[in-house]
């Protein structure tokens, strides 16, 4: 516990921007977890008497074309963004990390085949690859979350994470303790999981936080294109499309605040990822 506190103090001292971004991320997480308590309105409840209301006392960020409270939809939208962002980033980085580790450890033909496949996947722009997966998979809803959407966002992350983790693992593979483990007769999987994986945790964590930001952006893009979350569910990207696009002149708050939320979230996760990298990388410390 004392060590954790000391590490946190060190992080606060050395990464002031990181702590600001961490606060922003925690606010977002708080909103997502306690949306029912924080939001003043049901995000899906239509109130035509309040449609297109400008920001005011009752609706601090105004209402949309259906009279739905924008602040409440943003708060619930944080849940969608985080659920999809965290899960897809976790799946993508973990799968990519596993491939990268195995590729680096086994080397030879395994590495050659894995890297060419990764090259192939990397040749697709992220949004195109995600669009293909969404189009092929359709929708598969579990507990209100579209699993295929998460996979669609995770898939483009896999080759990128694999490439980074492989690079880190290649240097770990040459470490004496790996040689020692080999000499002791440990199995390949034990060496990978017990001796190599813990030593690539730092780049993994950095990738994970950075790709949450990218996943949030990708989810917003797919929802904007009508391929992500569907109305009336609250989602930030979705709030920028549809009727918002039609009413941006008479009700600019309909696009302003969701756009701001996306930008802030992406900025916060990116900053936090950068701070984490700087803090964990001993070379940058010196």
């Amino acid at each position: 516990m004392r060590r954790a506190v000391s590490l946190f103090v060190d992080f606060v001292r050395s990464q002031p921007l990181g702590i600001v971004s961490l606060v922003a991320v925690l606010v977002m997480v708080g909103c997502a977890i306690f949306a029912e308590q924080v939001a003043a309105f049901d995000p899906e409840a239509i109130d035509f008497a309040a449609m297109l209301s400008a920001p005011g006392a009752e609706h601090p960020l105004g209402t949309d074309a259906f009279g739905r409270d924008i602040l409440s939809r943003l708060i619930y939208g944080a849940r969608t963004a985080l659920a999809i962002g965290v899960l897809s980033s976790f799946i993508g980085c973990t799968l990519g990390g596993a491939i990268g580790l195995a590729s680096a450890f086994f080397g030879g033909k395994v590495d050659l085949v894995a890297q060419r496949l990764i090259d192939m996947l990397l040749s697709f722009p992220i949004i195109v690859l995600a669009l293909v997966v969404v189009a092929l998979g359709g929708k598969f809803i579990i507990a209100g979350i579209d699993v295929n959407l998460i996979l669609a966002i995770a898939v483009p992350t896999v080759p990128r994470a694999a490439r980074v983790i492989r690079a880190a693992a290649l240097s770990v593979r040459e470490m004496p303790y790996v040689d020692a483990a080999r000499a002791a007769g440990y199995s390949d999987w034990r060496i990978i999981l017990r001796h190599m994986a813990p030593n690539v945790t730092a780049p993994y964590l950095i990738l994970f936080t950075a790709y949450i930001a990218q996943a949030i952006l990708l989810e917003a893009s797919l929802s904007f294109l009508g391929l992500g979350v569907a109305e009336p569910k609250p989602a930030w990207g979705l709030m920028l499309s549809g009727t918002s696009a039609n009413f941006y002149q008479e009700a600019p708050w309909m696009i302003l605040f969701p756009g701001l939320a996306i930008s802030l979230a992406v900025f916060a996760f990116n900053l936090f990822g950068d701070a984490l990298r700087d803090w964990l990388d001993p070379k940058l410390k010196t």
Partner: protein, 523 residues
């Protein structure tokens, strides 16, 4: 004296140009926007405005809706006609000197060949409105300018069928050589000759000087430009196009009137186009009429139309026929039908009771919808209405191809759909509420002999009064059984340049598109 001079100047200087402005002027090219590409050039096989708003100017029909006097029917190639007292024989005399665009004479054989193709399409031709001619027994051509339709039984809708813009008149010789000729070729007798079609870009027509109506058309030609809704509004604002003839949303109209002032001419009116929801009785629990009826009862159509009308073209409350049309229910009649009662607390209480009785108090369902406006808006509204009786709905928004696939495979719980017709005739208008197993344009599959019986009865009704009563009975049965139920009706908003004259606004975007009487005020 000065005052007298002033009055004289007023009379000469202002009244004269005003009167002159009403005199059609020849010349000019009409540019207008069309939001979609035509999948075919063939009227008989088409069912989208994207075809008619381009090809109508190239073809004639036997009869047509009278310009400026919808729903009056007048002759197009028919100069006159006689209906036998038993309504079983229709004899048409054609205008003489009608020619195809290459100068080939047009005769009664061409009329017969065209209607025969609709009624009994050759292999490989999908006649979409084949059912509209099932009561025609045979077509005869005693001479080159006479065509006779012999009926098997009385058809209350046959004049509407003869005036249908979909029943373009083709060349008998061309059809004989190749029954699919009209799919990719334009060869008609209409006011404009075909010049070119560049897919995704434009469609061009030029005046046919040999057109059989003297002095028409006024325009030198037209250019239909393919563009989406947002581009259309920009193009109207920038005066790159002079018109859009399908319909705009209220906010688009407001933007244009604000930007263009008196340079935007707005024409509005009810639209023969409705949104409806189709239940899938082949899937539980939608096989239970109590569940379907409860879901229909929960929707406040009156409040929905009022509110959605501010953000979309969904504007009017109506039953199975267009509000304001000859066969439409009055508000008082509608209010007595399930789903149209004004007391929503009572309706929702009844809906909850029906769901409880059916053992579906915690019903969850999927609403399959198209992913374009205003379908999404009405989908969001309907889901909100169902929430108020405790029903949870997943909103599945899909691309058009997937939507059709879902529909054709009956792979849905409830489907959001729409339907439009070229006129207010019940025979073609009511098919949407019948079973898809018999009428392909419908979305629901069921067997209801009572509904079929009422439909057939109105089709054979001897007069409008008895027909109207049968339509009401059909409407009540539709709302009670709720296989397919109407939600709200669209509102048509047309914005054109004030230079565009002679075009007739109507409740359908399928008619008045031959452009023969349209003319442009010179710049």
């Amino acid at each position: 004296m000065k005052r007298l001079l002033g009055l004289l100047m007023l009379a000469l200087g202002f009244a004269a140009p005003g009167a002159q402005a009403q005199t059609p002027v020849r010349g000019g090219i009409l540019t207008f926007a069309v939001a979609a590409e035509p999948p075919t050039y063939d009227c008989h096989q088409a069912n989208t405005f994207a075809v008619l708003q381009r090809v109508s100017a190239h073809y004639s029909t036997l009869l047509k809706f009278e310009d400026g006097k919808y729903p009056n029917i007048v002759g197009d190639v028919a100069a006159s006609w006689i209906i036998s007292p038993d309504q079983l024989t229709y004899t048409f005399k054609l205008h003489p000197n009608i020619t195809f665009h290459d100068g080939t004479p047009f005769t009664s054989e061409d009329v017969k060949a065209s209607f025969d193709r609709v009624k009994s399409p050759p292999q490989g031709v999908n006649s979409v409105r084949q059912g509209s001619l099932v009561k025609v027994d045979r077509i005869e051509t005693p001479d080159k300018l006479t065509v006779v339709f012999h009926m098997k039984e009385v058809d209350a809708s046959i004049m509407n069928t003869f005036a249908s813009p979909w029943n373009c008149l083709f060349s008998a010789a061309k059809l004989k050589a190749d029954p699919k000729f009209p799919e990719r070729n334009i060869y008609g007798t209409g006011p404009f000759k075909f010049v070119e079609h560049v897919a995704g870009s434009h469609w061009v027509g030029a005046r046919y000087d040999g057109y059989f109506k003297p002095g028409l058309p006024y325009l030198d030609g037209f250019r239909a430009i393919t563009m989406g809704a947002a581009a259309t509004v920009n193009a109207l604002e920038g005066k790159q196009v002079l018109a859009e003839f399908r319909g705009l949303a209220p906010n688009e109209r407001d933007r244009l009137t604000k930007a263009l002032g008196d340079q935007a001419r707005v024409q509005e009116g009810s639209w023969n186009l409705h949104m409806d929801i189709s239940f899938n009785p082949q899937r539980k629990p939608f096989d239970d009429p109590r569940v379907r009826r409860a879901l229909s009862l929960a929707i406040d159509r009156w409040a929905g139309a009022k509110a959605l009308g501010r953000i979309s073209p969904l504007h009017d409350v109506g039953g199975v026929m267009r509000p304001g049309g000859e066969f439409a229910a009055t508000e008082a009649e509608l209010e007595t039908m399930p789903g149209f009662g004004r007391d929503m607390a009572k309706n929702r209480e009844e809906a909850r009771r029906l769901l409880k009785e059916a053992g579906q108090e915690n019903l969850t369902l999927t609403l399959t919808n198209r992913n374009i406006p205003p379908y999404v808006a009405i989908g969001v509204y309907v889901i909100d209405q169902w929430r108020q009786i405790g029903v949870k709905a997943e909103h599945q928004q899909v691309e058009l191809a997937t939507w059709y696939n879902t529909l054709n495979n009956a792979n849905f719980d409830i489907m959001m759909d729409s339907y439009t017709d070229h006129s207010d005739d019940p025979t073609t208008g009511l098919v949407k509420f019948l079973s898809q197993t018999k009428y392909p344009v419908s979305s629901s599959r069921f067997d209801d002999p009572e509904l079929d019986k009422l439909y057939m009865a109105q089709w054979a009704a001897p007069d409008a009064t008895s027909r109207r009563k049968l339509v009401r009975d059909f409407e009540r049965r539709t709302m009670e059984q709720a296989y397919v139920v109407p939600l709200v009706w669209w509102y048509r908003i047309i914005v054109t340049s004030p230079r565009v004259n002679g075009w007739t606004m109507s409740p359908s975007h399928m008619i008045y598109q031959d452009l023969a009487t349209v003319w442009l005020t010179p710049q």
